[in-house]
Point group: C2
Chain length 362, copies 2
DNA sequence: GTGAAAGCGCTAACAT
DNA sequence: ATGTTAGCGCTTTCAC
């Protein structure tokens, strides 16, 4: 029989072995090389060095070469802070996320990363590591203006709670909390995607379909829920509130929601989780309870994160990484003064059927 | 029968629908609120405002309140660039990675993120999006000094190729390319982990064990390969070079390597891939060829990325995310002037057996 | 308890 | 083709 010890989760105590060098302490920080040092060494003025650095034309070839050699020699690098203070263009795009370590954020980053790779810009991911560190909305405001009026040319903000930003800075949001924010936004066809998912389950014959909700402060959540409710109405199925479990897009609430729904006297035959992280939770609970998916329970999620692919989940794909890509391109246009055709882009969702065959129609 | 349409890969053409607002163009950027504006509005000098901002003690309660109110009112935020120029402490840690979108990088980020969340620091992830954008080693040098002498207090650099950094800046590297760099480093017990993996396969009775190598410029790669070779010698198995395939830690080279190894006249009964991304490639090839794992082919990887968990792969876990966590803590110590006990931390690896039962001992 | 003034490293006029 | 100079917004003495 195959065995599976599976004990690969949880926090690990850091075991230090194989220590190689006993290690000297860090040397004290010494003053960095400045443009002044370069100028002095080259026997020119700082402005000449600056011109070379910024590839201005009117500098003699020979002077350029000499200065470049010295820059190399001294290991000089521009002080970003000082440069940012003086010049408009910083070639830096900021990405603001409350937390970096969840699938949605990671997918967005992949897309942003791809667009960045194709551009002249570099990326600055800004995170406080945790939402709890400071008030949510005010923190967003703070970071946006912090980055825009400081070191970046513009920012992308993921799932902002704040409805308005009092700044005329280049900004693009992904999955904003409100429907018509005063800033450019990228989001998916959440309502339509929800309807499609429901239609799919309905076509399989399901009449009792459970729903696990997401973070209520996000518009995407509400649109998905609305799709769920509207479809039921359209299909003539009375809304049963006990089939709707609350959630917040985390696996834990998916688990909780699944337990609640599956322990009902009259449990649903299908569950629609409003994101894939929660669907994964449902998946786990189903396994624990010995329910096979989709034979015993039809399961569908929203998001299509890599994890769901490996689990073979059926999902509504909203192309998260593409959203990051598009948002970045929009932002670059804005920064470069190219007019946007539309302030709001909606990524078309698509149903990805991976593992669903339960047809319970009579 | 269950069906699986599976068409959820590849680049997606961006379809824009459900456009909500026709969109006005971005308003022109207007001057940001500065400390001067706040001072003027409060009827005090800039230095007083600065004192309040930096929580200095000797400011009258009432003045503080008034200034804070105005700051709120005007929506003032510090100009990071200007602040960085003047003060030593920036409360910002830089993370330098050539690319953000591969599993190793993402795992590192998760760990760093966790440490950041527990700290007073914020995180700045710096990436050029692509290695190809500029020369590798020189780019590293550039970014390190760019960040350290500009806007961050110190940097973490992942898998640097450069052996030395000519900077006395706070820096910690993760998985550096050389064994004894002149900067603090965090890496895993690659050699030992490799030996353990081999021991495990050997104990199952395997004598022909294929190996897929990683990026040759990385010390971790070499240590793993050395472990493979040394174990064979120790076990008295002659080294067969044809069982060693080249790779570069990407899934593609895992696929290529697997094809090469499995199409040998005398193919291996087990494959040890030097990282899990490549092991995933082997997994795919095995599936295509109708080989079951582990019944027909024992497979083991190095890394334990989330993907391998879902595929049920057996791996040598090097706790990537913990490495990020430890590196960040080390860096914070350095920044705060706390001496490090050791310049080099080696994370103890562990064999995670998920799906292995093929015992081919006679 | 508060203000004046010096400068951090750089860029962008304006000179020469 | 190059140098001089004036700040960018902020923190930090050093006065008062």
């Amino acid at each position: 029989m195959c065995h599976n010890n599976g004990n690969d989760t949880g926090i690990v105590t850091v075991i230090v072995t194989e220590i190689i060098s006993p290690g000297k302490n860090m040397p004290k920080k010494k003053r960095a090389v400045t443009i002044q040092d370069v100028a002095k060494a080259a026997g020119v003025s700082v402005s000449t060095v600056s011109r070379v650095l910024n590839s201005k034309v009117d500098v003699a070839e020979e002077t350029q070469d000499r200065i470049r050699a010295i820059i190399d020699d001294l290991g000089y690098t521009t002080n970003l802070a000082a440069r940012s203070m003086r010049s408009q263009k910083k070639n830096l795009i900021g990405l603001i996320m409350p937390d970096i370590a969840y699938p949605f954020a990671i997918e967005v980053m992949k897309g942003v990363n791809r667009a960045i790779a194709e551009s002249e810009f570099d990326l600055l991911v800004y995170t406080t590591g945790d939402v709890r560190k400071s008030g949510r909305a005010s923190a967003e405001q703070k970071y946006v203006s912090l980055l825009t009026n400081s070191i970046s040319d513009g920012v992308i903000i993921v799932a902002p709670v704040e409805g308005e930003f009092n700044l005329d800075a280049p900004i693009v949001s992904i999955d904003p909390s409100i429907q018509n924010p005063n800033y450019p936004a990228v989001h998916a066809t959440n309502y339509q995607g929800s309807m499609e998912a429901m239609q799919y389950l309905f076509d399989l014959g399901h009449k009792r379909i459970g729903y696990i909700g997401g973070r209520v402060e996000l518009e995407s959540s509400n649109r998905r829920l609305q799709g769920y409710k509207d479809f039921l109405k359209k299909a003539g199925i009375p809304l049963d509130e006990s089939l709707i479990a609350a959630g917040d897009f985390t696996t834990e609430t998916g688990i909780k929601g699944a337990r609640t729904l599956l322990s009902l006297n009259n449990p649903p035959t299908a569950i629609f989780a409003s994101n894939d992280q929660m669907a994964m939770g449902v998946f786990q609970v189903a396994q624990e309870m010995g329910l096979r998916i989709p034979e015993d329970l039809s399961l569908i999620g929203f998001d299509n994160i890599p994890e769901s692919k490996y689990l073979g989940l059926t999902t509504v794909d909203q192309f998260i990484s593409e959203m990051g890509y598009v948002a970045t391109q929009m932002l670059i246009k804005i920064i470069n003064g190219v007019p946007l055709e539309d302030q709001t882009y909606r990524m078309q969702t698509r149903l990805v059927i991976r593992n669903s065959c339960k047809n319970i129609s009579q």
